[in-house]
Subunit: 337 residues, 2 copies
DNA sequence: CGGTAAAATTGGAGCGCTACAAAATCTGGC
DNA sequence: GCCAGATTTTGTAGCGCTCCAATTTTACCG
């Protein structure tokens, strides 16, 4: 890598070949399968490459080999941090096979989820991970293996579904609160598919125990504000409530705010448990009880499914649930009194 | 978009041309400059495109036109949410010009920042935004316009620097605390370039006011744990401290934890102010005073600089600071007593 | 209607790389 | 020292698209 003086066009494989005194094919070979090239030429080619500061053109490689060794990940919003663990899981399982992950976020509005997907497909990704609310039509006209991660409603035909078992997670939260002796329990829900399953799992277990459950926010969003509003509703209409399960950690934060506003101390007066085991919940200050959806494991599984379907496209789409894990921290305690 | 029955290869521009009864060139023209094509053919081509479910190959387009209309954004870790606002700013300024943003994260370890950059360069991005601790050598051998956002140490030669004015932000925090009457003030710092500037701005203003400042964590990281440790150190060695300024919101969260552990109530006994105006600080529960580094504005500026340098590559790299803004919320108050 | 300029359309070369068959070179055994 | 077989290297033909010069069609005017 010398100082590449002039603003000349970037070096091509031909430049490298000429400089190393070999054919372009040989350079290509060095790039993809160095062991088939003699020691001498390999060294010469490598020297020429760094001498010229050559970087292979991804576009040309893709075009010529018609494979990109990359899979696309569609997320809805970078602020939803749960995708970070998913990404880590994906990468850990994918990189041993030489695959890379390309991200596209699909903010609502102009850049719809379909556009994000189209962009990825235009880049010839070999597989697609959809970590956003999927739309039925997003996959029409393509045969790229796809798997939906973390959502459950409207999975497009032909796509696999791999997610944590939200029903089971809801049951875990319920068992935890029941085990602490709570009998007046509220739930802050939301409108998405994941929230619905968490709600059903939670409700079913609570009802089994012959305990009443107050649910709010079923058709609302899942932001901190939504959690705050839902918690306020429950605490104002049922002031005897001693425990709240929120559909995610962010909503749980809203619940904490609602408790604080009413002078309730957590967990002495009110237990609060969230879902996701996000950074928030892990934080030393908040120290929040939660359910870990094991997004890392989901990621690994998604990667393996995709890899299998890339190899053998005739494979049927599957459907798999990952066991979540209860994380008990400092916002839940035995029922007061 | 019919049901594309067979797993045939994806349609090319030739398939579209044949189906529409025109030449491939015409199809290409429709794609990039529809107004130069007669109404009739345009409609025919468009019909064929959706009929076949055709999506142009990005690789081929790139190769043929040698321009990608995309710029690359290198971030260090998806968990550092400050890049989200930067991204929004970038996109808002870039999309009117038809440019897209491609992200690459550079986790420490195997996937070094240089690799992330190389990946982006291999994709022929026309410009590079580095929102991570830059390394001197990352740009050798390339002439792609680059700008560093948000860091200040070791900006590679030839790259512009655009960031919020961390010195000024530090001064704002200092003025705020001094204005509230505090005279025993601590600062939780970190080892990065940004932290150093925040520290210097803060210290200079405090010292001007002839007030003593206790600084901890100068050579540590900037996580919540680091903030906790630094806050513990200050509170234990200087129990009379009434205000803490943290180098970022996450560290401020650690400070809150330290205060809680000592039974200090915030802001009655101890004022805490962070930096970044992250989601955390905005949250209703935490309601944290902070300094907003206006990453959105930084993003817009970065985009415009890049655009200008793409158009005219002879432009000199610039250096610009964006004015931050003080955000007063509920964690700072007048000095007790 | 012929003629001309403008508008619309087309053919073909080439972007940088890989795949694959063909050619060149190297082994070692007799 | 020669030859079969293995190993290494090289030509050639695309991959799917854009660009541009050349060609065809259209519109308009006298």
């Amino acid at each position: 890598m010398t100082l590449n003086p002039s603003r000349t066009r970037r070096p091509t494989i031909y430049d490298v070949a000429k400089s190393a005194g070999v054919s372009p094919s040989l350079v290509s070979l060095v790039l993809q399968n160095p062991s088939k090239v003699s020691e001498k030429r390999r060294a010469a080619v490598r020297a020429a490459i760094s001498e010229l500061g050559y970087r292979p053109s991804r576009a040309a490689t893709t075009l010529a080999s018609s494979q990109t060794k990359s899979i696309g990940l569609v997320i809805d919003d970078f602020r939803n941090l749960w995708f970070v663990d998913l990404l880590r899981g994906l990468e850990s399982a994918l990189s041993p096979h030489g695959y890379q992950v390309t991200l596209a976020d699909s903010r609502p509005g102009e850049n719809r989820i379909t556009e994000a997907t189209d962009g990825l497909l235009a880049m010839h990704v070999e597989g697609l991970v959809i970590a956003a609310e999927p739309s039925e039509s997003m996959l029409t006209g393509t045969w790229v293996p796809a798997v939906v991660a973390g959502w459950r409603d409207g999975v497009p035909a032909g796509a696999s579904l791999i997610t944590n078992d939200d029903d089971e997670g809801g049951r875990m939260a319920a068992d935890h609160l029941l085990g602490l002796g709570h009998t007046r329990i509220g739930h802050l829900s939301g409108s998405g598919g994941a929230a619905a399953h968490r709600r059903e799992g939670f409700r079913s277990r609570i009802v089994e125990a012959a305990v009443e459950v107050r649910i709010a926010g079923e058709s609302q969003g899942t932001s901190e504000e939504d959690g705050y509003a839902a918690a306020c509703w429950i605490l104002d209409h049922h002031p005897d409530t001693t425990a709240l399960f929120a559909a995610n950690d962010t909503m749980a934060l809203g619940a904490l705010a609602a408790a604080k506003a009413r002078g309730l101390s957590v967990p002495a007066d009110l237990s609060v448990i969230g879902y996701d085991n996000s950074q928030l919940a892990k934080s030393r200050y908040l120290d929040m009880s939660t359910v870990d959806n094991r997004s890392d494991l989901v990621g690994v599984d998604v990667a393996n499914t995709l890899l299998a379907r890339i190899q053998d496209p005739t494979l049927e789409p599957e459907r798999k649930l990952i066991e979540p894990a209860l994380i008990v921290r400092g916002t839940t305690a035995r029922v007061p009194g």
